[in-house]
């Protein structure tokens, strides 16, 4: 067992993947000598060379577009989008090319590309650095979308994402990069890449979330427990595909579901979860599925982000509303 931060967990996971398969290459802006603006790729260029840890020009469409070509040649590119808001210049390559090339080729082509995106707010950044854009990619068939939330998942999920032959959008919770946790680096992953995880067991309400909000949800569950309310926290981990079986089992036990995420609620992941759970668990539900998310606004200036982001109190308020039915 070692104690790692999320950033270090991803770094070690990347290293393991690169050692295991020399076709794995990293691409991105400032990922070489600097080690990335969050230092997630720290030291990798030194050990694997400039041909495998590629400092790219400052052009995101170019990163993804050339990764497509490298994948067609048999490589397994792992692309870093420096910040969530910088993925938009690459949007066309991701949704029109990466997502569709396998179908377009009637299965002749595989594109094992991982697109790493540090996601979400809460770091006091200027605009375009705090976006939660997972719904765009989860909505696009042909892509897989996952979000890690702790060091163990960071370490294992990045390796699993690299191993899969499908393109994966890999979200990293940037405000949690320095959260620490125990990781058994020599063991085996406890869950598949697309499995949801019951992060805390409870009886009265299920609280479903992913990425940076998992910690908020766990803190909310702790606070609620002190008031005698038992919250089950489900970390969805994979946003496409969604592990509805794990979530439905939890909801059938608790009878209530609150979904929380940083992204705007309108047409966000919570909408899909709510619709699906309503269909599956209608007769088990004691209350409508509620959402606690970001507001339907452009991400606000950082002095207002604490009001925008769901915090402990807003999540608990959602739980109370669910329990009030």
């Amino acid at each position: 067992m070692s104690t790692l931060t999320i950033a270090k967990g991803i770094n070690n996971g990347l290293r393991r993947s690169m050692e295991r398969d020399d076709k794995v290459i990293l691409m991105g802006e400032d990922i070489g000598k600097l080690g990335g603006v969050f230092r997630v790729t720290d030291g990798l260029q030194k050990d694997f060379g400039e041909d495998r840890v590629i400092d790219t020009p400052l052009a995101e469409s170019g990163i993804i577009g050339t990764a497509v070509g490298l994948a067609l040649r048999g490589y397994r590119p792992v692309c870093e989008m420096q910040f969530d808001g910088f993925v938009y210049p690459a949007f066309d390559q991701i949704v029109s090319q990466v997502a569709k090339m396998r179908a377009r080729s009637l299965g002749a082509v595989k594109l094992p590309i991982v697109i790493r995106i540090p996601v979400g707010g809460g770091i006091g950044a200027v605009e375009h650095h705090s976006e939660s854009n997972e719904a765009y990619f989860a909505h696009t068939a042909g892509l897989r979308v996952v979000a890690c939330a702790n060091p163990e998942d960071a370490y294992w999920m990045i390796q699993q994402a690299i191993e899969t032959d499908d393109p994966v959008v890999f979200y990293e919770p940037k405000r949690r990069y320095w959260d620490k946790g125990e990781v058994d680096e020599d063991g085996a992953p406890r869950l598949g890449l697309y499995d949801a995880r019951v992060a805390r067991e409870g009886e009265h309400v299920t609280l479903a979330t992913y990425g940076p909000m998992v910690r908020v949800a766990l803190e909310a569950a702790q606070a609620a427990a002190e008031e005698g309310k038992s919250i089950e926290v489900v970390d969805l981990r994979s946003l496409s595909p969604l592990d509805m079986d794990t979530l439905a089992a939890s909801v059938e036990k608790t009878g209530r579901l609150v979904v929380t995420h940083e992204a705007s609620t309108f047409l966000g992941m919570g909408a899909e979860v709510a619709a699906e759970i309503t269909q599956r668990c209608f007769y088990h539900l004691e209350a409508p599925v509620l959402r606690v998310g970001g507001y339907n606004l452009p991400y606000p200036p950082s002095k207002l982000e604490e009001d925008f982001l769901p915090d402990l109190d807003r999540v608990l308020d959602g739980v109370d509303r669910a329990l009030a039915y």
Partner: protein
């Protein structure tokens, strides 16, 4: 009925409705911007079919014998015939749309023939002639336009990638593939069977796209073995070159740090020579190059547009005089490298090929409905699988399960 028909049939009281602009367009002189390619245009065969020498490029065609030249001619005629047949099929409702290559045969055959088997081509959606040179069955090209698939071939079989419709997106794929060739150590080894390069096709309109400019940057800084082959056919749907650029396109390369050359795109020998030189250089490790094949799209952008609305007929007449097939035929005839018997035989072969394409197109089966759920992911995806099952059950619920 055109605007002019409307005006002339409107009678005396309708004369105020004459579309003077349309009349003027039809009778206007050729715009100066079209030009003849300028003094830097590489040409080895004039529009009259006369061989001219070029200090840099004549050497690249020196080893071509009469058989090779007849082969070029055959390719030009066959791809034009396939293209004409596909256009006819579209007009008869058998294809949803078709992007004709009429006028660009030499640019495609010349460059396509300059490739080696291990090279890789990334086309747009108009490279029917390049596909032909790579050995892709013309029938395969029709699936996309008929709507039965999005591309009916395995790109790795002939090293010819699928057609890409989003303008310029494939130039980045080509550059990335070239970066992969570098990492595989298949550049500059001196082994003619191993060293490889990539060619990326795009049009003049694509040079305005961000992706093409990003591809230039990535190729340059990586010294990637990729040749950018721009078929400047003068029109991006209805927009002429002067809506895309203020300088000749081949000169753009200099700003990115690699050479650019403008070749007569209707001269199959010159295109072959220039492409061969560029591919040789790329394979040997000298990095990227931009080729601007100065040519002309004789027809519409696709069967959906009407070029008489945006360009003058005098311009088309000028380019008819530069026809790539006529000039090679004149050269072969003048030098007794081919006779009527040969030309007739090629025409017969073209007709037979067209008949095969037609028959193949008409007998192309519609895809099985459930097949739309195939090949979305490598690993099974629960949503796709659930929807496949739901659709299958729904489909089977009809009488006869059609």
């Amino acid at each position: 009925m055109s605007d002019i028909d409307v005006a002339s049939s409107a009678g005396a009281e309708g004369t105020e409705h004459i579309d003077e602009a349309a009349v003027a367009a039809l009778t206007a002189p050729v715009p100066e911007t079209i030009g003849d390619g300028g003094p830097e245009l590489v040409q080895l065969l004039t529009p009259e079919g006369e061989r001219v020498d070029h200090p840099d490029y004549s050497a690249y065609v020196a080893d071509l014998d009469a058989d090779d030249l007849r082969g070029f001619y055959r390719d030009l005629v066959l791809v034009r015939r396939v293209d004409a047949e596909a256009t006819a099929l579209q007009r008869q409702g058998e294809l949803g749309i078709w992007a004709s290559l009429l006028g660009q045969e030499a640019a495609q055959v010349g460059s396509g023939r300059a490739l080696r088997p291990q090279d890789y081509a990334f086309p747009t959606y108009r490279e029917h002639g390049v596909a032909w040179c790579r050995g892709v069955n013309p029938l395969n090209l029709l699936g996309l336009f008929r709507g039965v698939n999005h591309g009916g071939w395995d790109p790795d079989e002939k090293n010819f990638h699928l057609y890409t419709i989003v303008i310029g997106a494939q130039t980045l794929h080509a550059t990335g593939y070239a970066m992969g060739i570098q990492r595989d150590g298949a550049v500059g080894t001196g082994d003619a069977d191993r060293d490889a390069a990539v060619v990326a096709y795009f049009g003049d309109g694509a040079t305005s796209q961000g992706d093409v400019n990003e591809a230039f940057v990535y190729a340059a800084v990586n010294n990637a073995p990729v040749v950018f082959f721009c078929q400047n056919n003068q029109w991006a749907i209805s927009e002429p070159n002067d809506r895309q650029t203020r300088i000749p396109l081949y000169q753009r390369a200099r700003g990115f740090g690699f050479p650019g050359v403008r070749v007569d795109g209707n001269d199959v020998l010159a295109v072959y020579a220039v492409t061969k030189a560029a591919m040789d250089a790329a394979r040997s490790g000298q990095g990227p190059m931009l080729i601007e094949a100065f040519t002309y799209r004789m027809g519409a952008h696709t069967t959906s547009d009407d070029p008489t609305k945006y360009r003058v007929s005098a311009e088309v007449e000028v380019w008819k005089h530069r026809d790539p097939i006529a000039r090679l035929k004149a050269y072969l005839t003048a030098h007794a490298m081919a006779d009527t018997e040969f030309f007739d035989a090629v025409d017969r072969e073209a007709d037979e090929l067209a008949a095969t394409v037609r028959e193949g197109c008409l007998s192309m089966p519609d895809p099985e409905p459930l097949s739309m759920f195939d090949h979305i992911y490598v690993e099974k995806h629960p949503v796709v699988e659930a929807e496949r099952a739901e659709f299958a059950a729904y489909h089977a619920s009809f009488e006869g399960g059609h």
